[in-house]
Symmetry: C2
């Protein structure tokens, strides 16, 4: 039984002024002249009564709801999703905005329904997010609206994208191995593929490999091979096992995800090879397991919190949102899986 909400009319009555004056005093607009005395009376009355403006009523008139829509494919399912959302939530809260979170499951009809639901509620802007970095085509309902693309790209769609800087991440992985003295015997596990794989390879995969090879080449090192496989533990295990069975003896592995690394650890352990003495491993993502593995895994972290935060900051900024790409740096988490290679036997 929450007593009836205090309205602006109540505040005005108590302050002995008109609702108009109360409105101006409360919104603090300077273009309309309100005496200090009147303003103080209104503010005092509002404080006394514990007045809080009804955002719904305000939205109806101003068309702005202090609300952002977040539309994603299956992002809440991924292990990192929480971080993206948390970053977005934090940034939104700092500016008194709330987030509608929705998930389409990749279904266009559902997506359309949800976007309309958001629009029906007069959201000020929409963040269109994807689980893994790839190309998307946002629904027509979003054309001409204030939109930021999160972890995805849409050429021809006039909105900025916020994505992880995968090229630089690849460079970071390469530099990490170089700094430890690795120059050869390096294999990449996972390569360009991902789940779900796209015919022309995966954005993250392509860029990571590019950055990695660029850095190795420039330093006179080399990548002995790239093993293409899905980015999960099962494939990591299978492919590394096969690599060893075929007689290869890698000194360092660059695994596409921590899950692949997990599989690699299992395969190496089975073969009696130890990390990092026999084989160094550098990985990407920084999932929780990276810290649980023995030895702990050195990995280039996906900056999920920062991605979410940046998207919201961008969308709540004053500048108009044109097409542009914002790359967020992927920080290296140095742990225990990279070591100087033993002198070749």
């Amino acid at each position: 039984m929450p007593g009836n909400r205090v309205t602006m009319a109540d505040v005005a009555r108590r302050a002995g002024v008109s609702p108009t004056t109360a409105s101006f005093a409360l919104s603090g607009r300077t273009d309309m002249r309100i005496s200090d005395a009147a303003r103080d009376k209104v503010l005092a009355a509002a404080a006394d009564l514990g007045y809080r403006p009804n955002v719904t009523a305000r939205s109806l008139r101003t068309k702005s709801s202090q609300t952002i829509g977040f539309v994603s494919d299956t992002i809440t399912t991924t292990p990192f999703a929480g971080e993206v959302i948390r970053g977005a939530l934090d940034a939104a809260r700092e500016k008194d905005h709330l987030l509608f979170i929705t998930e389409t499951g990749g279904d266009r009809a559902v997506e359309s329904g949800l976007v309309n639901g958001l629009l029906d509620r007069q959201v000020d802007a929409v963040i269109y997010a994807a689980m893994y970095t790839h190309y998307v085509t946002p629904p027509p309902e979003l054309h001409g609206r204030r939109v930021v693309l999160l972890n995805c790209l849409a050429p021809g769609f006039d909105a900025p994208s916020v994505i992880p800087d995968e090229i630089e991440a690849g460079r970071t992985a390469g530099r990490t191995l170089l700094a430890a003295g690795h120059a050869g015997g390096i294999w990449a596990i996972g390569g360009h593929q991902a789940i779900p794989a796209s015919p022309d390879g995966n954005f993250a995969g392509l860029e990571r490999m590019r950055g990695l090879q660029e850095v190795l080449r420039d330093a006179g090192g080399r990548l002995d091979g790239v093993v293409e496989c899905d980015w999960n533990a099962e494939d990591g295990y299978r492919e590394v096992s096969r690599l060893l069975a075929e007689g290869h003896r890698p000194r360092a592995l660059v695994c596409s995800t921590d899950r692949v690394s997990f599989g690699a650890y299992q395969a190496l352990a089975e073969a009696g090879l130890s990390v990092p003495q026999d084989v160094s491993i550098v990985s990407f993502d920084d999932q929780d397991i990276a810290g649980w593995l023995k030895p702990t895994l050195t990995t280039v972290a996906l900056p999920h919190l920062e991605l979410g935060r940046r998207a919201v900051e961008l969308i709540l900024g004053d500048s108009p949102l044109g097409a542009s790409t914002h790359r967020v740096l992927m920080p290296l988490r140095e742990r225990a899986s990279v070591e100087r290679p033993r002198p070749t036997d």
Copy 2:
């Protein structure tokens, strides 16, 4: 440049009727008499124009926004959070509701601010959720409102709770071992503690242990010991290593979480013991790693998706929400870590 939205006035004009008639025709109310002809005209006009009602305007009048607030402590951080939210999202979508997701970080002031933000936007109801099952005191702003407690309990607060059925989960774990022929040499790793630990133990811990012991006792089996430790990989590894070092030779382990199991696997492998031939393991939670471990881990799953779904279904149901507790069953995921014990040497 989204053209101006179609309003009900537009629809009425096109159908050649008054806005009132349009409203009644569209809302399909039977208590006000509208001729079939008029109704058809309105519906046709609405379809032609692609009319969608402005939920904000409607909310102002009806006080109902077809919107639910979701307030959690740090739920988006946990690995399962996504599932809870997804369950809630799905159930909400089925009834054309949208969810405001918020996270307080455990800060009362922030919590209060967010709840007020939700109330300012006229949410119809609020789901108050916790990362791990425990006792909470919802903020005063929520008193008297339509609230469902998710994964938490608040004695004295007049609202239903939806929590995992941890007692039954403990029984399930016990029965799984009994069914495989284990009757002794069973140790529980993790016990009653959790992160963050509360002085009187952890709800899930207490109930799981209770269910486990009840089932073992009734079957004439026994629990050789309960090792109390935090519910993470590090502690699991340390405590199982210690157990073995002290000369104990468990035949089965009941680990409080998959993370603890992960640590246990590491410790057992180090000691040259194999799962499940030497030691069977049954666990709780069903995180992703449960399927990546070798052998894959048999575990009693936290029903996160179902928890989220049930909370929303309850909140959108017609029945008044009194204090009550809804326990959601935790299903067993049978995998490869439980096996019949070898005959004692």
